[in-house]
């Protein structure tokens, strides 16, 4: 326990009861007269009877199949579950020898960005758990990871029968972020609850929507989907530019085409929506974009391998869309702003991607020491066709070839280099501004906001 993180007051007020015990054992029942509890003519005795009766009769076990993950800290996750005995029995019958030797396991799937280039698509690991218990503490070896799990029976031959899927958790980061970027944002002015209600209230999933489409971006930067309702029609979306033979740069003509479309939509936005009006996007109008994304996904998956496994709660039909687009790493204000050679250093030698950029625009020279290619990839899922909220994660995929014999380090991570010198590194981008920026880029094809 560190002093820094010791709960202030943990030895605190709650200890006021130290030595005195607590609860009814240290109290004196109310006299038969009315308790001073307001106008209701209740005696203390009657109140106690009601309380005792309800607690005795109505503190009930949790029912229904459920598996829940909760992150404890960067290296531990807690899982609890509830599975009907009948479901467990039914699952056993589907296994060899009626599942006599099958064990109950938590099958974890690592959904973290940067892990799906391995085979199988997402790394998985099993944690064997005791059937008699209904919860487990799982130790992990990396922080800032994104997991889901499935509780199921695993037979000795490896056959797995799933019983219930979990929610998703992201374990906390245990150290500084590898992302180095500096951009300013205006603090939102205070707003009262009444003002929100007077303005029509906030929809249930506004939080996610606002994260996807930060209203603080000026209209010219708004996601084009936001204008679909205002203009009464969708902005015609040019086809996605094709990846080059080597996954290289986009065709300039394609950027120009989408840029013109965006300019039209931006003008419409400015004309029809106030600066503070939050865009409301009818789900139906998103569908054309979804279709476009699905086509793109199919095309990309044909290049990179099998699709991602759906991970969602039972009864939810996810749509998983992958929209990778190659983007030139901009010369200014990038997440990573320079590549430099670090011979020696921590003993690994080789190269590293990193460094920081002064917020006032200090010199930052883009001098790649090795040929690199960057691809932004988004994974978007929604609870159902045309439904919100949309959840998304984004990552920057950096590919290149290392001609040096030295080990390669990018963003502080040792990179596996193939026999031919090629490598791929996937860097997760935070939701929020970066995500909104990605979507803007995917739609505008302009690349970096600063014109890079």
């Amino acid at each position: 326990m560190t002093e820094k993180h010791h709960k202030p007051g943990s030895g605190g007020r709650r200890h006021a009861a130290a030595g005195a015990g607590g609860g009814a054992g240290t109290t004196r029942p109310a006299r038969a007269a009315e308790a001073a509890a307001g106008p209701a003519p209740f005696s203390g005795t009657e109140l106690r009877q009601v309380s005792t009766h309800i607690t005795t009769q109505w503190f009930l076990p949790v029912e229904g199949n459920r598996l829940t993950l909760m992150e404890i800290d960067p290296w531990r996750v807690h899982a609890y579950w509830n599975v009907a005995e009948a479901d467990l029995t039914a699952a056993r019958t589907g296994l060899p020898d009626e599942g006599r030797d099958a064990v109950l396991v938590l099958r974890f799937t690592d959904l973290s960005p940067g892990t799906f280039d391995a085979a199988p698509p997402h790394p998985r690991f099993d944690v064997e758990v005791q059937q008699a218990r209904n919860n487990w503490y799982i130790g992990l070896w990396r922080d800032a990871k994104h997991y889901s799990a499935e509780l199921g029976l695993r037979a000795p031959d490896g056959t797995f029968v799933g019983l219930v899927r979990s929610n998703e958790v992201v374990t906390p980061r245990s150290g500084p972020s590898p992302e180095v970027d500096f951009r300013h944002l205006e603090v939102r002015p205070p707003r009262t609850l009444q003002a929100q209600r007077a303005a029509g209230g906030t929809e249930r999933n506004d939080a996610l929507l606002r994260d996807l489409f930060p209203k603080r971006l000026p209209p010219v930067d708004d996601y084009p989907l936001a204008v679909a309702e205002a203009t009464g029609g969708l902005v015609e979306e040019p086809p996605f530019p094709a990846l080059g033979a080597e996954g290289g740069d986009l065709a300039p003509a394609a950027w120009e085409a989408v840029g013109a479309a965006d300019a039209r939509s931006d003008a419409a936005t400015a004309a029809t929506a106030g600066a503070d009006a939050f865009p409301v996007i009818p789900a139906a109008e998103i569908e054309p974009y979804r279709a476009l994304a699905r086509r793109e996904r199919a095309r990309v998956l044909a290049r990179i391998g099998p699709p991602l496994p759906p991970v969602a709660e039972e009864g939810v039909s996810p749509t998983v869309e992958l929209q990778p687009q190659p983007l030139p790493i901009p010369p200014a204000n990038p997440p990573v702003d320079e590549v430099r050679t670090e011979p020696g250093g921590d003993g690994h030698g080789g190269y590293s991607l990193g460094g920081s950029q002064a917020p006032w625009g200090g010199a930052s020279v883009w001098q790649p020491a090795i040929p690199l290619e960057a691809v932004l990839a988004a994974v978007v899922s929604s609870p159902g066709q045309g439904e919100w909220p949309v959840q998304a994660s984004v990552e920057l995929v950096v590919r290149g070839r290392n001609s040096s014999a030295s080990p390669l380090t990018l963003c502080g991570e040792r990179v596996q280099v193939g026999d031919d010198g090629t490598f791929t590194l996937r860097l997760p981008l935070a939701q929020g501004t970066e995500l909104a920026e990605l979507i803007r880029r995917l739609c505008s094809r302009y690349g970096d906001k600063d014109g890079g």
């Binding site: 326990m1 820094k4 007051g9 943990s10 007020r13 309800i54 944002l185 205070p190």
Partner: protein
């Protein structure tokens, strides 16, 4: 223009403890002790500062449950009965110690403090301390903020987003109805934050919140100014990070000011030191020794041997510690280099109940710090988050990392083998409350189904209080915490069943409304 700023934040919170079903209840003393030892001394200090012309010197978080209890006539009456009992004890103590040159002044000190508390509580503010704090905010001395409705630990409730949302919305609504103006800032219970929470904070109308140090230091992208400037989340809500150095100076058992040997010892109390027959009339149940607040010894040293407490010597240490705190803050800001924008900011949050209750001299120290900084603001000026943001509206955009100020810095204190059994119940109940509110959202306000829905929401909120999981992990009052969790979950289950089958026993519903009498304006729709 100051070179930098110091923001002192006190978080005042107590769980909702109110037991009309008993003539007296031990745990209700937590509130009574806090009123006498913390809230009244704090109000008196802030009033003196106001009269001296000091403004924007403190940020004070008042939890919705504390606000509710401070405004509760039932608890106000019990507080006065509690103080009356202590005043009778004080009179006996003054007589008992009259020939003891070391203890007699202390007995008179405690007697006078009780008289002062009653005068402020009953005469000046007509039992309404919320009004006292609201006036101090209206005078520009403090900025009042609030927290989640029952102090639910949000990172472990987020499995059901509706639970977090209701905690924040009901908390914000309660504050506004009690104080009269909305709170701009949110104190996250136990500083528990997870990425994405800022969206719900914005929805509840908040402009900023606080996280622990590593929430800022591990933010994405990296914070360019470290802890010395707040960040703004992508949705425009600002995040302030706790400064570990100034926190350690108050919290640390080894290095902290409260452990100074000249200060009053908390644990030596006549409730444990004197003959039981003498103390018996002044304790609640007549057979269990408790702290009375009459403490005559100083800390003296690490062992059991204690010397009588000397307030004059302690006052000198208060002055020295205040000077030390202010000096360190100024040096810390100076070390940030030349003047810059955003100006360096040190955020120092503490539990309010530390001041006065645990650290007897805490309110004096706080007043001394504020006076020193107000006298020479050029090197480091006091500020509040809203005042700082008014001058620094453009900040680095980043998302803090998941964090808390609990042991280990994450969720372990509220999720461990001692309390993990509560979460399946809490998550399941939140899910069912969502379903219930959607299915019966057309119930007419004031009707029995509507009242039952409201009471189910209250029961769920009360079951979610972080205090219960906290106490289960600690060493004392565990059974009370378990019982409270079971009681509220059972009440929720019962009320849910009543609504579902359409048969509501009004007498029982009214009994539950009498026992859990908070959040009168709770709208079931908050769970939709």
């Amino acid at each position: 223009m100051p070179r930098g700023y110091q923001c002192i934040v006190l978080h005042a919170h107590l769980p909702y403890i109110r037991h009309p079903e008993y003539d007296s209840f031990l745990e209700e003393n937590w509130l009574f002790e806090a009123i006498t030892e913390t809230y009244v001394p704090l109000i008196l200090a802030l009033e003196r500062l106001r009269d001296a012309g000091v403004r924007e010197c403190l940020t004070l978080s008042l939890s919705p449950t504390l606000l509710t209890m401070l405004r509760d006539p039932f608890l106000q009456a019990r507080y006065l009965a509690h103080v009356d009992r202590l005043q009778r004890l004080a009179a006996r103590e003054v007589r008992r110690t009259r020939d003891d040159p070391a203890f007699a002044p202390l007995a008179r000190l405690y007697r006078d403090r009780l008289e002062e508390a009653v005068a402020l509580f009953e005469t000046r503010y007509a039992r309404d301390l919320v009004d006292a704090f609201a006036r101090l905010q209206a005078d520009g001395v403090v900025e009042l903020i609030t927290t989640a409705a029952t102090h639910g630990y949000l990172p472990l409730l987020k499995t059901e987003t509706v639970a977090v949302r209701a905690q924040l919305l009901v908390g914000a609504q309660t504050f506004q109805s009690m104080v009269g103006v909305p709170a701009r800032g949110a104190w996250l219970p136990e500083c528990g934050y997870y990425p994405g929470l800022e969206g719900l904070l914005e929805e509840a109308g908040y402009n900023y919140f606080f996280v622990d140090s590593h929430g800022i230091l591990n933010a994405t992208p990296r914070p360019y100014y470290g802890l010395s400037a707040p960040l703004v989340c992508p949705n425009g809500v600002a995040a302030f990070g706790r400064d570990p150095e100034s926190s350690r100076r108050v919290w640390s058992r080894q290095e902290g000011y409260p452990g100074d040997f000249q200060y009053r010892d908390f644990y030596r109390d006549i409730g444990f030191d004197l003959d039981f027959d003498y103390i018996r009339p002044f304790i609640l149940d007549g057979h269990t020794r408790i702290h009375t607040g009459f403490k005559y010894y100083g800390i003296t040293g690490p062992d059991e041997h204690k010397l009588p407490y000397d307030p004059a010597q302690a006052a000198r240490r208060v002055a020295a510690h205040a000077e030390d705190f202010v000096g360190r803050s100024r040096r810390h800001i100076a070390a940030q280099g030349e003047r810059r924008s955003p100006a360096p900011l040190i955020v120092s949050p503490y539990d309010a109940e530390l001041f006065g209750h645990w650290w007897f001299e805490g309110p004096q120290w706080l007043e001394a710090v504020i006076r020193r900084m107000a006298d020479a603001p050029d090197a480091a000026a006091l500020t509040t988050p809203s005042a700082y943001l008014a001058g620094h509206s453009s900040l680095q955009s980043a998302t803090p990392s998941a964090s808390s100020w609990g042991d280990g810095g994450y969720n372990a204190f509220w999720l461990n083998p001692g309390n993990d059994w509560i979460y399946p119940h809490l998550h399941d109940a939140a899910h069912r409350m969502n379903v219930l509110a959607r299915q019966h959202g057309d119930a007419a306000p004031g009707s029995l189904p509507y009242r039952a829905l409201q009471q189910a929401g209250r029961s769920l909120l009360l079951a979610q209080a972080s205090d219960w999981a906290f106490i289960m992990k600690s060493d004392t009052a565990k059974e009370y915490a378990r019982r409270r969790t079971r009681d509220h979950l059972a009440r929720f289950n019962y009320l849910e069943q009543c609504v579902l089958v359409g048969t509501i026993d009004e007498r029982r519903l009214q009994a539950l409304e009498v026992m859990d009498q908070l959040f009168p304006d709770l709208e079931p729709a908050v769970y939709c």
